[in-house]
Structures are given as structure tokens and as C-alpha cells.
Symmetry: C2
Subunit: 322 residues, 2 copies
């Protein structure tokens, strides 16, 4: 027996209630149950907003992803976007369209995964919408955050001579998808693949870099290093050189997965040459991988010292190769 829309709203409201009004720096004056959510931010802060789709068959598969992994990843996308500005996440809004036959067990698992991550980051589920989907689960999550006025770290601030850094290790998500394609769901148990199923948005790292004014430009690695580096370069009107030998690959992942695989949710940032970037920020390893160049070219310096064009291999989620 599936939830009716009214039951679904009641379930969301009941479960969100346990994580509602946490020690959030934004006051939620009205949440689920009014025409709009009403929030009061502390004064002298800028507001951040990001929205991300999570579509069954595109961003996750029911036969591969447990409901709590799907729910976790759904919110992680927006938290990672807020992290990439250096912001503090405050509230989330879940628009959830379910096929008529969706079991309440799946729905509860999905909400459980989403709300566990929300609590971890003191984010309130403050609203959204529900509807029937004609095919597959469709979720759209809006995340609201804030930064002190004028301190947002944008994609557009990189300057020639800046150094390029990434957090954590790259390629784990692409490696997991390859394993899922070949071996199916049983891989989900392996600890090796945890960062695909339950990625940890780098909110503390982004916030540290913003507070110390260390980063000139920043983005999160959702599309893959080669594509997200292009975003930074295009918005900043610069080029870049990445040293292959420096790219930190996840255990088991190869360079191609680290360069082009999406959904690692690590941060890529540029910092002026003189900036002192710690090797470890909030417990997360930070690695220098290259530098920002004048011009428009994006290059990969391979192990043999050859300079190759670094083409973005468009991350097409599950659409590619299927």
C-alpha cells in the first residue's frame, strides 16, 4: 500500500519535526504547513540558494542504491554546492514525486537517509512539495545557506599564477559505478565504496577557506575534475595546468576515473601563490595539483612530461554507455 499525498506530507512533517528547529543560526519562523517557509537570517549575511535534481534511473538506481543512500545523496548534492561557496547550510526544501506504487518502506528509508545527513549538518527540512510521478522517483532539493556579506567564494576569481588544489581523493564514485555495472548490488556492502553511497560534503573545509580568505575561486567536483575545472576557467577567463602525478586517486581508482569521474563531491579551489594552504583541513587531506595560467588552454602534464589537452569528458550520470 503506497502513501497518499496527504500521508506522505504527514510522514515528512512528522520525521522532519525531530530535526526541526535544531541549533541553527537561522530562525525558522514558519516551516512545513504554510504557503511559504519564513526564515530570519542573522544580519549582515548574504543568502545562498542551490537546487539539485535526483532522478531515478539518472542519478540513482533502486537496484543499486539503498533508499537511505538515495536520500543521503539527494541532500549531499546541495550541501556540497553550499560548501563550494564557503557557506553554512541552513535549511532544505524537498520536492518529491513518487510513482503510485512506491512502498512506504522505501519512502521512509529515503527520508531517513536524507534527514540523518540534515541533522549532521544542523539543516532543517523546512518545506517542499509532493506529487505523483508518472515514472520513477523524482526529487528536487533546494538548499539554503549563508555567508557573511561579501565573502562568498565564487567560481570567477581565479588569477593566472594561482595554485590549484583538491580535497580528499578522486575517482571513487566512478570506480563504484563501474563495479556496480559489472558485479551488481553486492558491491554496496564494501567499505571501499562508501564514499559513493554516502558522500561527505566538505562544508568545514569550504568554510575554513572562506574564513581565512585563502581561496580565490572554488567549485565542488560533481561533474568531474576535467569538467569542473573548465567551469572555473570559463567563469574566471583563465587557463590551467594539472600535473597528472599529483592528482590524488582514491584506492582502487585510476587516473581516468579521478580526472573525469563525477560525483566525488570534493572541492577544487584556486589560491594565490603566497597563500599557506594546510595539508589537512578539518581532517581532510588537501593536495596541490597544478596552477592557473593566462589564456584559455587547459592542459594535463602527464608522467612523461608531455603537455596534453585536458578535454572535459562530460559526466552523463548513468546515461552514458547504457
Amino acid at each position: 500500500l503506497a502513501f497518499t499525498e496527504r500521508q506522505l506530507i504527514a510522514a515528512i512533517r512528522r520525521r522532519a519535526g525531530t530535526s526541526r528547529f535544531p541549533r541553527s543560526p537561522a530562525r525558522i519562523l514558519a516551516g512545513i504547513g504554510d504557503d511559504c517557509a519564513v526564515l530570519r537570517l542573522p544580519s549582515r549575511h548574504d543568502l545562498l540558494i542551490t537546487t539539485d535534481f535526483t532522478i531515478e534511473g539518472i542519478h540513482f538506481r533502486r537496484e543499486w542504491h539503498s533508499p537511505d543512500s538515495a536520500g543521503h545523496r539527494c541532500l549531499a548534492r546541495g550541501l556540497s554546492d553550499v560548501a563550494a561557496i564557503g557557506g553554512q547550510p541552513l535549511a532544505a526544501f524537498l520536492s518529491l514525486a513518487l510513482p503510485r506504487n512506491t512502498s512506504p518502506l522505501w519512502t521512509q528509508g529515503f527520508l531517513g537517509g536524507l534527514l540523518r545527513l540534515a541533522r549532521q549538518f544542523r539543516v532543517t527540512l523546512a518545506g517542499g512539495d509532493v506529487a505523483e510521478s508518472l515514472r520513477g522517483v523524482v526529487a528536487d532539493v533546494a538548499v539554503l545557506g549563508m555567508v557573511p556579506q561579501g565573502t562568498a567564494v565564487l567560481r570567477s576569481g581565479a588569477k593566472p599564477g594561482d595554485k590549484l588544489y583538491v580535497t580528499g581523493r578522486l575517482g571513487a564514485s566512478a570506480m563504484t559505478l563501474q563495479a556496480l555495472r559489472h558485479k551488481g548490488k553486492k558491491v554496496a556492502q564494501a567499505r571501499l565504496y562508501r564514499s559513493h553511497f554516502f558522500p561527505q560534503p566538505r562544508v568545514a573545509v569550504g568554510s575554513f577557506l572562506r574564513r581565512r580568505a585563502l581561496a580565490s575561486a572554488m567549485i565542488d567536483l560533481s561533474d568531474g575534475l576535467s569538467t569542473d575545472l573548465r567551469h572555473i576557467c570559463e567563469e574566471s577567463a583563465v587557463g590551467a595546468l594539472v600535473q597528472a602525478a599529483r592528482v590524488p586517486c582514491s584506492p582502487g581508482a585510476d587516473l581516468q576515473q579521478a580526472l573525469h569521474g563525477g560525483e566525488d563531491y570534493e572541492l577544487l579551489f584556486a589560491a594565490p601563490q603566497g597563500a599557506r594552504i594546510p595539508a589537512l583541513i578539518a581532517g581532510v587531506r588537501v593536495t596541490r595539483i597544478g596552477e592557473v595560467l593566462a589564456g584559455k588552454g587547459r592542459w594535463l602534464l602527464d608522467e612523461r612530461g608531455r603537455r596534453l589537452r585536458l578535454e572535459p569528458h562530460g559526466w552523463q550520470h548513468f546515461a552514458s554507455g547504457e
Copy 2:
């Protein structure tokens, strides 16, 4: 030939650019093209956020609704929610999932309808997401608005003795859907049906009531009077009596359509007995239809003076009776 995701983002960005940075009271410091939109509100304002799905086959049909009507209605839902708080809309975020075969012509028409309404209300399209949909168009629009601190008109403020009012006339949308079911698309041309295809969110009326502190509770009529009145009564812990003879039916609509039909996007509000409510606000007719009662009952006083239970006839969009 359908748009690729990259072409779609470019089309949205190009078209939104023409309506970007209008004379909006919120400064958009970063919009489409960064990880988050960054907004600065004037000081001493509360923030409003609402999100609404628009799903093909549920909220519109391609054989009934022109692309610009679908785009218009998609944004109108959120603007109407902001109106129901008494707020000023500032920015919109469009998450748009399109089936692979969607023609650029349809997409451009949809964006055109949405952006024309955005310009009318000086709302900036400041971000969103795009994805592939496995079936039908799925849009989710988040609208951001604001009110001066502490002035939001919620659903929860109605008191026994308050009078109940609605704006405009009711039932036109239900009447249009019935005509579409019987006669198909040709009705779309008739001027009579315009308020279904291009509803006008009552932003000026809501704002007037909020500025003058005239309304104790307010909601927009998206689910239908009988259901939305229940929302106000539940959130305010009160009952209500509606006088059938006073309900303003749209030309051609009957009382049942006016009471239970959804998507009229008029406002329903309560005001203390002494409040002087103009008969016309911002050019829109305002009608007293009943009063707020103690207790939990919701009643309809029919033409013969009988007191009947006013049951919510759940508005199920196009799902009902199909």
C-alpha cells in the same frame, strides 16, 4: 533535434539574461553559472521560500496547454504562495527535466511564458538545475520572496469572530478543465478560459493586506476553497461557516466548481470583525463569504438556510476521473 543539457543551460541563461538584474530590491551577487546563487536582501526583512512541482500529465497536458501557458502556470504557483504571505517575490529557481525528444520550440515557448510572468513581477531567474526526464516534462520552481521582519501573514492566525474573504471569482479553472475534457484544445482560444491558462497571482492584494495589517490569516486557493479553508482552520484551530449565496462564482462556473475546484490562485483570508476591507484592492474585487467559528466544524449555509458540512473535495489535479 532536442537540446543537450549544455545547450539548455545556455538557452536559459541567455533568455534569463534579458530579465536579469531588473529593478529588484534584492541584489543578486551571483546567479546562474555558480555553485549557488548569492543574494543580498535589504536589512530587517524575513525571507520567504516556496517550491512547487509542475509535472506533465499531472499539472498540465501538452495537448491542452500551450508551452507558454505551461511555463506561466509553473511560476504562477510560487508567486501565488508568496502573495498568500503578503510578500514581495524576488527570485525564481527553475529545475527542469525534459524527455530526450523535447523540441527546442516547446522548450523556448515554456521559458518564454515563465520569463514573461517573471518580468511582470520583477522576479529574476537566478538558478536551478537541468536533467533528463525518463517520462514527461518535470519542472520544480522555487520562489524566493521577502517581507519586513515579523509581518508575514500565516495560515495560523484566524480567530473566532473573524470574517472570511476571497479575492476575484472562483471556479474558472475547474470549469475550463471540464470544457477541455469534453471539447478538447479548441476551448483554449476562448477568453472565458484565460484565467486557467494564465492565472494572475494576487501579489498586490496580499501585499496591501500585509502592509495595512488587515488579515489575521491568509492562504492561496490552489487546492480549492473547501480544502484550503480546512488548511486555515487546522493551522488556526478554528471552525468556519461559508454562505453559499455569497461565494463569487466565475461566469459560467457553478457553486460546486467554485467551492471545490483548484488552481484559481485567488486569496482566501480572515480579518477581524472591525477591519475595514475595501471592496476593490489593486483592481481586484474582494468578497466577504463567511466567518470564523470556535470549534472544529466547517459548514456551508446553503441558499435555503440549511447548515451542511463543508467537506473538502480533494483536488487531485488531472488524476481524478481519468
